[in-house]
């Protein structure tokens, strides 16, 4: 019988770059920036690390473990490159955690990085295989999530203006938080009217319904829970680490409603079980979820059972997810303000939970958080990989 990862592994050091259009930085430069903060925070020596995982999605950053091992000059360690779309760095963290839990190494490094701003145009490059390209529409990220908003509005009878107002409130809240974070890319509060009236990117999503596009990297050093206190007094323990990949039914079978992500819902159920959580809305203190688009965060609140199905609007509009609300979501500014360098986002979210749990988040500090949840959704709703991590003291 599987026991799960709860309280077997702890994070003892983390680093996160400033996210943004880092025109003067390569992915290697970004990894070094995150690593330097991480190893200093952990207070360990590089030679203590005995395994590493790094995540990057786009091939322009190179393949194999060599990109990390040669950049950091790791001496013949087992170094693995992982990719699982937007959950890539949660996947790197999972590799490190499982290796520690199985007693196959004593200290592991996980790094996520993405250098997007060398592409030459806005948004993300297409990821279709040549075989998919034969028939599938040429769809963008905003477009595939816009289809969820279209369906959500239709299912719950929201006229477009009301639906857009609900979504705008999500982005408004996150911009409030991001404005306070020196590591965020977009550090500006935005008015509700500006959000609602912004140019349409993919109907019904406008500019401010979409996250930024940026470069960044984040890193974590992990040890077994038993060893954690040897390194620091306030290690952060992994309570759950789950991945869920879609089965094809959401994409090609006609039961899927396109107003939620079944992968997100299933991944949440498994994560709560692993962490021993019965009532997520009450027990989770804060969350960093995949807000690539405002609609994504909206349905994720329902998928993770923070809000009842179809009722998230009440929680959004009452400020339940605001920094001073009952369950603050995106306290660091989210993908909305950090941008979404794909394989850096997962560990970046964990970085915020780690700092919040340690009480080091300054004017964004949430009072006495106990459990923090991170959530990434790679791909798009019916074709997605979701990662959920739950962290606590």
């Amino acid at each position: 019988m599987a026991e799960g990862i709860k309280d077997k592994v702890a994070i003892i050091g983390m680093g996160c770059t400033r996210f943004g259009e880092r025109w003067d930085m390569s992915s290697e430069d970004l990894m070094v920036e995150a690593y330097k903060e991480c190893i200093e925070d952990a207070g360990v020596d590089k030679k203590d690390i005995d395994a590493a995982w790094w995540a990057a999605l786009y091939s322009m950053q190179g393949f194999t473990g060599l990109q990390l091992s040669q950049t950091l000059k790791l001496q013949y360690l087992p170094v693995t490159h992982v990719e699982n779309a937007c959950a890539s760095s949660t996947e790197a963290l999972r590799g490190a955690a499982y290796a520690l839990a199985s007693n196959c190494c004593d200290m592991a490094l996980a790094v996520g990085v993405e250098k997007l701003k060398d592409v030459g145009y806005g948004g993300l490059p297409d990821l279709k295989t040549p075989a998919e390209f034969l028939t599938m529409p040429n769809m963008s990220g905003p477009g595939v999530y816009a289809m969820m908003a279209t369906r959500y509005f239709s299912r719950y009878g929201l006229p477009p203006d009301e639906g857009k107002r609900m979504l705008a409130r999500v982005s408004w809240k996150t911009h409030q938080n991001g404005a306070k974070n020196p590591k965020a890319h977009l550090r500006r509060a935005v008015s509700l009217d500006d959000i609602i009236n912004a140019p349409i990117i993919a109907w019904p999503l406008g500019l401010y319904d979409c996250c930024g596009v940026s470069d960044g990297s984040a890193a974590a050093i992990l040890v077994r829970a038993d060893d954690a206190k040897k390194f620091r007094k306030d290690p952060v323990y992994i309570k759950s680490l789950q991945i869920a990949a879609a089965s094809g039914a959401d994409m090609w079978y006609t039961d899927y409603d396109y107003t939620h992500a079944e992968t997100g819902y299933q991944c949440g159920i498994r994560a709560y079980k692993e962490a021993g959580i019965k009532n997520p809305r009450e027990e989770i203190s804060m969350a960093e979820v995949h807000d690539c688009f405002s609609i994504t965060e909206t349905v994720t609140m329902e998928d993770l059972q923070f809000s009842p199905r179809g009722k998230v609007r009440e929680d959004i509009e009452s400020g339940f997810f605001d920094l001073d609300g009952g369950l603050p979501v995106q306290p660091d500014g989210g993908l909305k303000c950090f941008g979404h360098p794909i394989a850096a986002s997962g560990i970046r979210m964990v970085y915020e939970m780690y700092k919040q749990l340690q009480g080091k988040s300054g004017d964004r500090q949430i009072k006495n958080p106990k459990l923090g949840l991170t959530h990434n959704m790679g791909g798009y709703p019916p074709w997605s990989v979701v990662g959920v991590a739950i962290l606590g003291l």
Partner: protein, 479 residues
């Protein structure tokens, strides 16, 4: 008796009024004013895609496995070396065990293909041949040709059973009359002086072919129900009929002011229009034009009444949308090369081996249906997508291209590259089962709604280093 057993047609939804063209660039070449509007391809259409859609119309309700030939006529082939008829046959999900051939270079190639198919049926070497003719010719911007040429396609199925119109005979003239031409190095047609083309071309070859046909088969004008032929001038068109002894109501409408000159498809589209109104016993004459003329005599049979549910010419003419902008028109036909930089240039490399392996999926829109639970699925799967089924390799082929669907959700995307933003796409649920994502075309974002009925249409999908990729898109059903 050999003859036509079914018909179909395709006219692009977009029409541009000739006044829109004059209004944009004036009377730049040949100071003339032509009346009416013309049909123009959307940015994702060409002669090949239109031929497939005409073929689908023609094959409505028929067993496609019975076909043993496909002839395609065009002067605007999308490849110089690649069998276009083979692509059309695959798109129509026909057997590979057919004779397929392209008839090209002269605008009378449409009737030549029809005659050749008739001869093959008569000789017994084939039982059922689909003839598609389609053209989308270009003149330089502001030219006389640009005003005249329209886009369209026709399809006629030939066979010797359930014939709706018998092929009674033909009379052909072929000669090197160079009134219009296009060198292999050029993209646009050139044309000689219009008065010469009218008087020495249309007004001589068509009467010569038709009168030759009537003389050969001892037919008088009064024996004929409809005579069909193209012409570049409306008045000259009427004069030709008069010159041959036909009353105005015996002359099939020229469609010059609604569709334009459609090249190889032109006489066949006129024939389809005549068949739509024909009664058993009607004699129909159809003549082509271009480097000579083929004239054919047909006689309609009582089987004509069995043909139902075709879009044909009549419904296609009614299904139209005005293209109010000349700039859009020249963007659609790539006379104006708009910027595709950045996102538009990130083509996924086309692969011949993948296309061959996936030809049923990409070109025929054939998915699979689970033999255990009956669930249709696209793209085809090994393992059934129905969560409580999961049968392994118990699939049969299942074609989606001729099925109606409903829009489950959609968007209009301003980020991805398209010559006509926003790019429309959605999730389509097919009646009878099956769901997948497709582009939506021939409509605007504000026309689209959740739940709207759509049908599939064959279109261009991408261009990558000498390869035009084709597949199916969804288009709102218009009654």
């Amino acid at each position: 008796m050999a003859g036509i057993t079914s018909y179909g047609a395709y006219i692009p939804r977009y029409r541009i009024n000739r006044m829109t063209i004059y209004g944009s660039i004036g009377f730049v070449n040949q100071a003339t004013i032509m009346p009416g509007e013309k049909a123009v391809c959307n940015h994702d259409e060409d002669s090949l895609s239109m031929a497939v859609n005409a073929g689908v119309d023609c094959l409505t309700g028929l067993d496609r496995s019975k076909l043993d030939g496909l002839y395609f006529a065009t002067t605007t082939a999308s490849y110089k070396e690649r069998l276009i008829a083979g692509i059309i046959a695959t798109a129509l999900d026909l057997s590979a065990e057919i004779r397929a051939a392209d008839f090209t270079d002269a605008v009378k190639a449409g009737t030549t293909a029809l005659l050749s198919a008739g001869d093959a049926i008569k000789s017994g070497s084939a039982k059922s041949i689909l003839v598609c003719a389609s053209d989308c010719r270009l003149g330089p911007a502001g030219s006389f040709q640009e005003e005249m040429y329209g886009d369209g396609a026709a399809a006629l199925l030939l066979g010797d059973k359930k014939v709706i119109a018998t092929l009674e005979g033909s009379y052909s003239i072929s000669c090197d009359f160079v009134d219009h031409w296009r060198h292999e190095k050029e993209r646009f047609n050139r044309i000689w002086e219009d008065r010469w083309v009218r008087d020495e071309g249309y007004s001589k070859f068509i009467p010569e072919a038709i009168s030759g046909l009537m003389k050969k088969y001892n037919i008088n004008p009064k024996d004929v129900a409809k005579v069909c032929y193209p012409c570049m001038y409306v008045r000259a068109h009427a004069s030709i009929g008069k010159q041959l002894g036909f009353e105005p109501d015996q002359v099939q409408d020229h469609m010059f002011t609604t569709v334009g000159l459609t090249g190889t498809a032109n006489p066949l589209m006129l024939l389809v229009a005549a068949l739509e109104d024909a009664k058993p016993g009607d004699k129909i004459i159809v003549a082509s034009y271009g480097n000579g003329s083929d004239a054919m005599l047909l006689e309609v049979t009582p089987e004509i009444k069995s043909i139902k549910g075709r879009k044909g010419v009549k419904n296609s003419l009614a299904n139209k949308k005005d293209l109010p902008s000349y700039e859009k028109y020249v963007t659609f036909n790539q006379v104006l090369a708009i910027d595709i930089a950045g996102r538009g240039e990130q083509a996924v490399p086309s692969s011949s081996s993948i296309l061959w392996r996936d030809r049923k999926k990409a070109l025929s829109l054939v998915g699979s249906r689970c033999k255990r639970c009956g669930t249709p699925q696209f793209p085809p799967q090994h393992i059934c997508v129905k969560p409580d089924c999961g049968a392994v390799d118990e699939m049969e082929e299942y074609r989606f291209s001729d099925r109606i669907g409903h829009i489950f959700t959609y968007t209009g995307d301003n980020l991805v590259y398209t010559p006509d933003p926003p790019e429309l796409y959605g999730v389509i649920d097919f009646v009878g089962g099956g769901r997948s994502q497709f582009n939506l075309t021939d409509c605007d974002l504000d026309e689209v709604e959740v739940g709207m009925s759509v049908e599939m249409t064959f279109r261009k999908k991408y261009y990558d280093r000498g390869v035009t990729g084709y597949t199916w898109k969804a288009v709102p059903v218009r009654v």
